[in-house]
Symmetry: C2
Subunit: 350 residues, 2 copies
Amino acid sequence: MSTIRDVARIAAVSTATVSRVINSPEVVSPETRNRVAKAMKACRYQYNALARGFVTQQSYTLGLIVPSITNPIFAESIRGVQDFAHREGYQALLGNSDYEYAKEARLCEVLRERQVEGLIITTTKLRGKVLRDLLDDHFPLVLLYSTVRKGPISAVGVDNFRGGYSATEHLIHLGHRRIAMLAGRFSFSDKSLHRWHGYKKCLRDHRIPYDPALVLQTQYALENGREGIKALLALEQPPTAVFCSNDFMAIGAMQGAREVGVALPEGLSIVGFDDMAIASYINPGLTTIRQPAYEMGRLGAEILLSQIKRRDGRPIHKILETGIVVRESTAGLTVCEPKRNSSLTSGKHV
Amino acid sequence: MSTIRDVARIAAVSTATVSRVINSPEVVSPETRNRVAKAMKACRYQYNALARGFVTQQSYTLGLIVPSITNPIFAESIRGVQDFAHREGYQALLGNSDYEYAKEARLCEVLRERQVEGLIITTTKLRGKVLRDLLDDHFPLVLLYSTVRKGPISAVGVDNFRGGYSATEHLIHLGHRRIAMLAGRFSFSDKSLHRWHGYKKCLRDHRIPYDPALVLQTQYALENGREGIKALLALEQPPTAVFCSNDFMAIGAMQGAREVGVALPEGLSIVGFDDMAIASYINPGLTTIRQPAYEMGRLGAEILLSQIKRRDGRPIHKILETGIVVRESTAGLTVCEPKRNSSLTSGKHV
DNA sequence: TTGTACGCGTTATCAC
DNA sequence: GTGATAACGCGTACAA
């Protein structure tokens, strides 16, 4: 590889001039500019962005950690981050935590060693050493898919409480009273926790007793939805509807229900969370809570870059809107059933 | 940020010793090692991997360009690349081309400026300037999802011809004779082209006339499958089965068929390509051609790293196995229909 | 076992 | 408008 020194030698100028031709050509006289351009071609010169970063102390790189790149919802957010970052001359180093805190910690370490100027993380542990260390160092940081509304860390997310509330309310309005929830593990997903709170609050507002037997914590994948719903349907008093923490679980639940002979949506109403693209293409179409995934990523990148530029700035918290998208996976309950269920439930739990 | 110089000063050793503690601690006496370790903590020293790369002329970074990160099949491959790369101390800089050659070219440029040591690309144009330039520079390069079996560029892919052949054969065995194909545009997907060749060859082997009206080139997304199948079903002699270039198109086609009142699979058999995770969770389950996406990525990374280590090595071409996964989206044709179709078809095209 | 000194490719600061 | 040169943080001969 040839360097600006080679170019300088060939063009019979100094390295400073070559650098100027690259970074501010207008200050160089047209003739030398031309000579330099020719010299560059002659030795097939390739610019070294790392060397620049080395002297300017800017890597123009940011780190992006998501729990699972295979989930299209995160993939969308990654696109949002990239689109904004690229426009500003930044590249992103991407990592999966696979919902494991140890991997998240390791990635942070590696990415910081590589001099990323900031990090965008969908964290699996809000109160852990990883974030605390970052904070101690005043390291530019934005949380994605987070519900943090205040505090020292910038965050962009959605109102998960309200999302959970809307999902549940939709089911209640359809006449359901025995409503289950397939939730992501609260231990590493505050999202799921808040959705659960919304679910519980909505039940209470509608005077429906909360039955812990109807809430299952599991992982965010298809197979967990499938197995989860089977467990719930095997209960003595099975649910007539289920709210799932994400669309994968919901689609898994659909399949699980079918496998045990439950008709959809008549036998079981299902609500998901995310509104991934495929949700409107399956049968029945999935009723779900829409998250603006791309926009979240884009906004996260915007906030992070603004923080990198002015490191003294106050943290920014953005809560984007969700909305319920009603499709065919939810249906009204037949007249007598809710009565029966509710009386039994209340007899047991109130 | 403190540097090894700060550490050296505090520990009262030379920078060389600090460097040795980091890279080969065993050659340093335990006591100095300890002193250095303490000094590191004292000034909150953070290692700078970029500076190392700068002197060793190795960035330990590779570039990865895929057409669409939102497609889970590519996401799986990305995981495969990352898992292998991380184990070897490499990180990946990721970019989407969105199936646009200009973006692919731009990404190559940016990534090379950033000194990636090699590139893994799912290219949209096999014979373009981008690959030719890379090749001229003897730049370490591996093509992913490619069908190149020889030539100077390393590649890992599957036998798309055979995949297309199997898909078609499965449909023929079920009694179908009027078999359509929803194909990715041949102009930027040699994959799709080869699948189409397999499809045609299989028809010929079974003495079924090829009808160009049954082949639609479109994009690789859900909505294209949906609109594509509607166009095909609106033909005077509509197909009784369709082979789609990927699962997104197939799932889109399912929805499109439903929307025009065609029952699945009785009214239309559908075969996809990829076997993304969700394929077995939709209803009816999608019959599709399985690709080992994760394995492809892993192998691609392995080949690339081996090429980086010995740049003189011969190019390596790996064709992995595909296999048909039969689910419920394909069904036999009722007895008289194929006869009617085939006679009409042959009357028209033979 | 440890220290000295140089170089990696670029930008920035002075001079001229 | 241009040139000389000192950084940037680290690895690595080579010397001690």
